[in-house]
């Protein structure tokens, strides 16, 4: 009889201690992003799990010394913060405080890739791509956010803030020139969860992957371009392979035509030999024809750039020139 109660007590104690151990939440945990991750957008959402008993405030500091303070309250367990990124490696520190004393410190390295700059196009091998929208992560978010897609196919939101995507992703459309499907939050028209030949590795990892090449999706609205381009003789490689988003930011951009940079910077990102040296004819004054920095007479109110003479997509003229005769090309600006 006695030995029986003794055993029971031991069992109880072990169970109790186990439950304590399991139930004890970490003082501070960065749920997203994971260490050494890659971001394709210039914003990353930090999701922090904090226990109000051991932490009363969390400070996120970027390597450009931007700091964000999050007050921890006992009603919530998870906190989100959007952090701006610069190209290349970003080292971001997350520090938990209790009465101004450091409780725990974590850091995350996030690499922002660029589709244009070769420098930032290929991140070092230690980095891995973030796949956020999977069942596991969404379960965590669902306590505060509605994680369902509430978009009606083919009908844009009257009030865009009603979109469930808007809350977390609103920053992608904040630039001057907004692409209609993006600024109207018709996200799933491109983020259809499918993959293309260039991003097979994304398959089944996230609900909202975009096929690469994206061309067919673009052409579903830009029908006329597809028609006209197919008739032309010469094609620019990125346009021909349907990778429109190499040059265009399909959400929003500071530059015209939703270009990722101004046209001149964008072109010279790949065609580096054209930055300096003798491009276009050398005139009597020993100066080459300008390629930037002056007004473009052929496009009122715009500045001269590569696209003044070259068609960035297709052309019937060699070198993708805008006109097939020398006279026709020059006379676009030099009228009489």
């Amino acid at each position: 009889m006695k030995s029986c109660t003794y055993k029971k007590i031991i069992l109880f104690i072990t169970l109790f201690s186990l439950s304590l151990f399991a139930g004890q939440t970490a003082a501070l945990k960065v749920v997203n992003p994971s260490q050494a991750s890659i971001s394709e957008e210039n914003i990353v959402s930090f999701v922090v799990e904090a226990d109000s008993a051991s932490v009363d405030s969390v400070v996120i500091t970027t390597d450009t010394n931007e700091a964000f303070n999050i007050e921890i309250n006992p009603k919530r367990s998870h906190y989100c913060k959007s952090i701006n990124l610069h190209f290349g490696q970003n080292s971001i520190k997350v520090v938990g405080y209790k009465k101004n004393a450091v409780v725990k410190e974590e850091s995350r390295d996030v690499f922002l890739t660029s589709k244009v700059d070769k420098e930032y196009r290929y991140p070092p091998q230690k980095y891995n791509k973030i796949y956020f929208h999977n069942e596991e992560n969404e379960k965590i978010c669902a306590s505060c956010h509605d994680m369902k897609v509430n978009e009606v196919q083919g009908i844009a939101f009257e009030d865009i803030t009603k979109s469930n995507c808007y809350g977390c992703h609103k920053n992608v459309t904040k630039e001057k020139h907004g692409h209609a499907p993006a600024v109207n939050w018709l996200c799933t028209s491109c983020h259809n969860g499918k993959v293309g030949i260039y991003n097979q590795t994304d398959k089944d990892k996230t609900k909202y992957s975009v096929p690469d090449p994206i061309g067919e999706i673009c052409f579903s609205c830009h029908k006329k371009n597809k028609e006209e381009w197919s008739k032309k003789q010469f094609h620019h490689e990125p346009a021909d392979s349907g990778r429109c988003n190499k040059c265009h930011n399909s959400h929003s951009s500071q530059s015209e035509f939703y270009l990722r940079k101004s046209a001149w910077e964008l072109c010279t990102g790949c065609h580096k030999d054209k930055i300096e040296g003798m491009h276009v004819v050398k005139t009597f004054g020993q100066k080459p024809h300008p390629t930037y920095g002056v007004k473009d007479p052929s496009r009122a109110g715009k500045e001269l750039s590569c696209i003044s003479c070259h068609n960035p997509h297709v052309s019937n003229a060699p070198s993708l020139l805008q006109s097939s005769t020398v006279f026709g090309l020059c006379s676009r600006c030099h009228k009489k």
Partner: protein, 503 residues
């Protein structure tokens, strides 16, 4: 020395020019072509004698025998006949009712009548006097005995019990077509005809054909429960002309006919188009046809009443209500097989209507823009328009400009005197011009709903761009407004204090 240098310079210049010309105008290529052409000419001159050779085209007798000429001619004939069928128009549908009637008229044999006892006109009973304009031939001859009995106990009685048997004795043409007029079927000839005399042709019992018909077929005289079909109300405002100017018999037969309602031709369409040949052209030959006339059950009678109505154009209902009686649901379009919108629902939900629909009496309703009988323009529009989102509108004879001034889109800046041209302006900058006449012109329908809208100025709530509906988010203010469509972010305009959105 100096002279030499200048000479050298001139020579160099000429040489340079020649090289430039050579390159730009590709003289080399042209010279090459010239050489080839000259060579060809020389070659053909040399070989001219052998250019033509005799060709053997004779056919042997055996070969001729193998060709079955009769078979060929038969085949040719059948193919020709087929062609003729295609070319020849179908026989015109003309009504030859008068000829038919002439055949039916009996010729009385006077000799036969002489044998009978003749009653002189002055001996006739008083009730027949004074004599009327038209007399039944036996009555005129005084041959009462043809119909009446003079020998029996009660003289004057009919020789036969059934009136029809007496009539058909002389009027031998029996009525044998598919449908009979009820009195004909029942043998009650004297319901309509007076057997002795009348002031109206055909010895009718009334003062005119129409009044005779209406003595039975007036809707007002009958109870509402009776079949509506057989009764007409000719007191209504709009009457079908043939009835007023001529008679019911323009369309109907009095006795018997092969078509329902004793009509001379098929009532659905053929009969109507027999007179309305201008509509016939539209209905049968236009590129886009209205299902309402072309594929409906009742064809013309789907919308029109053939006798009389309260509404213009003999429409059964008010012009808009007539259209909405079918377009109160999604209807399949004959044009492209797509579904046409539920217009009734659209009009019910959106209180601001386009003027022709709103002011039906003055503007004509739906048919102000659509031709209900068919048109060569899409959506059976009376004039051309564009289905595209982007369209050059300037100098095109588009439909909207029939009523709305073209200046609305062609004037870039608007002087205060011209302020009535458009209210869609930022200061003096015409925003219609900006939207429509710029490099990419947009169709009026991009922003305006041509039927009805919740907003003023018929601004759409959604614009359709490549199958996606984008809200315009139009907000009107006292002197302007703002839009935030898919095309651009929120832009404001103000007529008095310009916001400067010319770029």
């Amino acid at each position: 020395m100096k002279k030499n240098i200048s000479k050298l310079l001139i020579l160099l210049l000429i040489l340079g020019g020649a090289v430039y010309m050579f390159q730009t105008y590709s003289i080399g290529e042209k010279l090459g072509r010239l050489v080839v052409i000259m060579g060809n000419i020389a070659h053909s001159l040399q070989n001219a004698k052998h250019a033509y050779e005799d060709v053997d085209i004779s056919i042997s007798d055996d070969e001729l025998r193998d060709i079955n000429i009769s078979k060929i001619s038969r085949e040719m004939k059948s193919s020709l006949d087929k062609k003729r069928e295609l070319i020849a128009p179908k026989a015109p549908i003309g009504i030859k009712a008068d000829e038919v009637r002439a055949e039916e008229m009996p010729h009385h044999n006077k000799l036969e009548a002489k044998e009978a006892k003749i009653v002189k006109l002055e001996d006739l009973p008083e009730k027949f006097k004074p004599l009327k304009k038209y007399l039944h031939e036996p009555f005129r001859m005084g041959a009462c005995q043809i119909c009446h009995d003079s020998n029996s106990k009660n003289p004057g009685a009919l020789i036969q019990k059934e009136i029809q048997d007496i009539c058909y004795e002389c009027h031998k043409t029996r009525y044998t077509k598919e449908f009979d007029h009820a009195p004909v079927k029942d043998g009650k000839c004297t319901d309509c005809h007076d057997p002795h005399q009348s002031n109206v042709k055909m010895l009718l019992k009334s003062d005119s054909i129409n009044n005779l018909c209406m003595s039975c077929h007036d809707r007002k005289s009958t109870s509402a429960t009776k079949a509506k079909k057989l009764f007409v109300d000719m007191s209504l405002e709009t009457k079908h002309k043939p009835i007023v100017e001529k008679s019911c018999l323009e369309c109907h037969e009095a006795h018997t006919a092969n078509h329902k309602s004793l009509l001379k031709l098929d009532a659905k369409m053929d009969l109507c188009l027999n007179c309305h040949d201008d509509e016939k052209e539209k209905i049968t030959h236009s590129k886009f046809k209205h299902g309402g006339v072309n594929t409906s059950q009742k064809r013309c009678l789907e919308c029109h009443d053939p006798h009389a109505t309260k509404h213009k154009k003999l429409l059964k209902k008010d012009p808009v209500a007539t259209c909405l009686s079918c377009h109160d649901k999604e209807v399949k379009s004959d044009e492209d097989g797509g579904m046409l919108m539920n217009m009734k629902k659209h009009l019910d939900e959106n209180p601001n209507w386009h003027k022709p629909i709103k002011d039906v009496k003055k503007e004509g309703g739906c048919s102000a823009c659509h031709d209900p009988h068919g048109s060569d323009n899409f959506s059976i529009l009376r004039k051309s328009f564009t289905k595209n989102f982007y369209a050059e509108l300037e100098n095109k004879d588009f439909f909207c400009f029939k009523c709305h001034t073209e200046k609305k889109i062609t004037k870039q800046f608007i002087t205060p005197q011209e302020n009535n041209i458009t209210a869609f302006r930022d200061g003096n900058v015409n925003l219609h011009y900006l939207h429509v006449n710029d490099r990419k012109g947009r169709s009026c329908r991009a922003c305006h709903d041509e039927h009805a809208s919740k907003y003023n100025h018929l601004i759409r709530d959604y614009t359709d761009f490549n199958g996606v509906k984008f809200p315009l988010r139009f907000i009107e203010t006292a002197e302007g407004g703002s839009c935030a469509p898919a095309c651009h972010k929120k832009f404001e305009y103000d007529r008095v204090n310009p916001k400067g959105i010319s770029k």
